[in-house]
């Protein structure tokens, strides 16, 4: 190897080394390559919007969306590593904050207690999803498609299709609306989830159980791991994360609405898959999912800024999801 202070000579001796190294780095660290794509998009949107993209105001919107998606994505990574999936999270996302606010308005229940009830709802949804999946051996895709319908319907009935405001300032500060310096509190929550999720997956026995359950369920069982408990557990974590993210986002918007998170399921799953989590379980990256969330946050808002409609965004997301899945499958087959 050539030492670093011999850079000039190295450049002559081994032309193309730096880009070659960069390519190796990109292929090895999925998270870095997604970040590069996101940065390219940022530059494109910045140029295309005559400098409107990289403003503090607009970036706070991007970070808000990144935070919302990333928080759920962290949990969905664990779930998808076990080889399962949760489509019902958008329902939980909109119903949990609604219950919280409604309890406060109707019965004067403090929002903090309402928040605990909201989390409990996430736990309940996770338990139902998980137990149905492991006991009836129905694919999680179908189970959660069903529970998604049920929860979304419930949210629509309960809300009477109306939104309710949150007026408590301390609450909205802690729950996502406040800013610490230039950074939204919602994003701070997501960073915390990222750190906890990353460490839990890579440094704890819990992470090993999740990886083993998704990687080779027979081997995990033979080793004495209760794989059903692991699976139900990650469903519960996902339900809780969706509920928490919903309440944080409602705090950010100063109100709960039944349409909250309606289109987030596809986006979260796309973020997770883009981030390098295997569709077949056994492998995944929490950091990748959050970087993937940022990429999609940039894309969504960039498209809005460039004058594309919500419908255009949906099409873009669909295309990206298929691309991400195609790349992921190609990697698996190699």
């Amino acid at each position: 190897m050539v030492s670093s202070n011999d850079a000039g000579r190295a450049g002559v001796a081994m032309p193309g080394t730096v880009p070659a190294k960069a390519l190796v780095l990109l292929s090895r660290y999925r998270e870095v390559s997604i970040a590069v794509v996101a940065i390219v998009l940022v530059v494109y949107f910045q140029l295309g919007s005559d400098g409107g993209f990289l403003t503090a105001q607009f970036q706070s919107v991007v970070l808000r969306d990144t935070g919302r998606l990333g928080l759920i994505a962290v949990a969905e990574v664990l779930l998808m590593i076990t080889g399962e999936i949760d489509l019902s999270l958008s329902g939980t996302f909109s119903l949990a904050p609604y219950i919280m606010v409604l309890m406060s308005i109707a019965w004067g229940v403090p929002l903090a207690i309402g928040a605990v009830v909201g989390i409990a709802l996430g736990v309940l949804v996770g338990l139902v999803n998980g137990l149905l999946t492991v006991t009836l051996r129905i694919p999680a895709l179908l189970v959660t498609l069903g529970t998604m319908g049920i929860i979304t319907g419930l949210a629509r009935v309960l809300t009477n299709l109306e939104s309710v405001p949150i007026t408590s300032d301390p609450y909205t500060f802690v729950f996502g609306s406040g800013d610490i310096g230039p950074v939204s509190v919602l994003f701070v929550w997501t960073l915390a989830a990222l750190v906890i999720g990353h460490l839990a997956l890579n440094n704890t026995a819990y992470g090993r159980r999740v990886l083993a359950t998704g990687g080779e369920v027979q081997a995990a069982r033979a080793a004495g791991i209760s794989t059903m408990r692991v699976t139900v557990g990650v469903f519960v974590v996902t339900g809780m994360a969706a509920a928490l993210a919903g309440m944080l986002y409602a705090g950010r918007l100063h109100g709960a609405r039944y349409t909250l998170g309606e289109t987030d399921v596809l986006t979260v799953i796309a973020a997770v898959v883009i981030g390098g989590t295997s569709l077949f379980g056994g492998k995944g990256s929490v950091l990748g999912a959050v970087v993937g969330s940022w990429l999609l946050g940039v894309l969504n808002n960039g498209l809005i800024l460039m004058g594309f409609s919500v419908s255009d965004q949906m099409i873009a997301r669909g295309v990206i999801l298929i691309l991400a899945v195609a790349i992921s499958l190609r990697e698996t087959r190699q």
């Binding site: 440094n203 704890t204 026995a205 819990y206 090993r208 159980r209 990886l211 083993a212 990687g215 080779e216 027979q218 081997a219 995990a220 033979a222 080793a223 004495g224 791991i225 056994g282 492998k283």
Partner: protein
């Protein structure tokens, strides 16, 4: 075979083991014993009862009648965990490894080493370095050359994976190991490595019960062979006294040897 380093008394003994599935007698009154440092081949054609016998010993089946003794003491084995608690580890054909995890993670799956800090330990924090070091020691002891950490096990060869599976079985001082056709899916060179590993286990005083259909491997690695036919023991022979041809005759029933 080479020098005797076996224990005097058997570490695993099976007496009069029978297993019925309804009216079907899969196993009737089988006796066998393995001493430490001894490799016992369990032979028989398909359906002879080899798998039923090993499943009774490893806790997957409950025997209808008979007793199992470990180190001379009678034990009750109702679950795989019971068998493990008795010091009996089974390497099944399916390998029971997680392909996407590395060697150290597989060796320590569900028996991880935790961080010495009590707070981190309570959180289930892994001591990855200690596990990598211990994995290196286990692999060295077994003379297996694979990278202990950083490489997913699915990138290793079949022989290397088999070695890791066996290492997982014996890595924790388990002194009785059941190997179910460890070379069935392997090429010549890789089979040779696994056979060498079996001899290494033998030299370290481990009692090995080996199921195999490869008579050459049996002759090369085993001290004794027990032959089953239709659920009964039809032969218990010292390998140096027989040829591969004799073993095949015993299995197929062409010759009847004293049991």
């Amino acid at each position: 075979m080479t020098a005797e380093i076996t224990t005097d008394s058997p570490v695993l003994e099976v007496r009069g083991l029978s297993k019925h599935f309804g009216p079907v007698e899969a196993l009737s009154g089988v006796d066998l014993s393995v001493r430490g440092g001894e490799v016992l081949a369990l032979l028989g054609d398909n359906g002879a009862g080899k798998t039923t016998l090993t499943r009774c010993i490893s806790g997957l089946y409950r025997a209808t009648a008979g007793t199992i003794l470990v180190d001379g003491k009678e034990v009750q084995i109702a679950t795989p965990q019971d068998a493990r608690d008795c010091g009996i580890e089974t390497v099944h054909q399916g390998l029971a490894l997680v392909g996407k995890l590395d060697v150290a993670a597989n060796l320590f799956l569900h028996r991880e080493m935790f961080h010495p800090n009590p707070l981190l330990r309570a959180l289930g924090w892994l001591d990855k370095r200690a596990m990598a070091d211990e994995a290196t020691r286990i692999l060295e002891r077994l003379k297996v050359r694979v990278p202990p950490s950083g490489v997913p096990i699915e990138r290793l060869s079949g022989g290397q994976r088999q070695a890791v599976a066996i290492g997982r079985a014996v890595g924790w001082g388990k002194h009785i190991v059941i190997l179910d056709e460890p070379t069935a899916a392997l090429g010549v060179e890789q089979s040779r490595h696994v056979n060498e590993l079996i001899l290494t286990l033998r030299s370290q005083g481990v009692a090995v019960l080996l199921i195999s259909h490869n008579m050459q491997h049996v002759i090369e690695t085993c001290d004794r062979a027990v032959v089953l036919r239709h659920g009964r023991k039809v032969g218990d022979v010292r390998i140096p006294d027989v040829t591969a041809r004799d073993l095949v005759d015993l299995i197929t029933g062409a010759v009847r040897a004293a049991a």
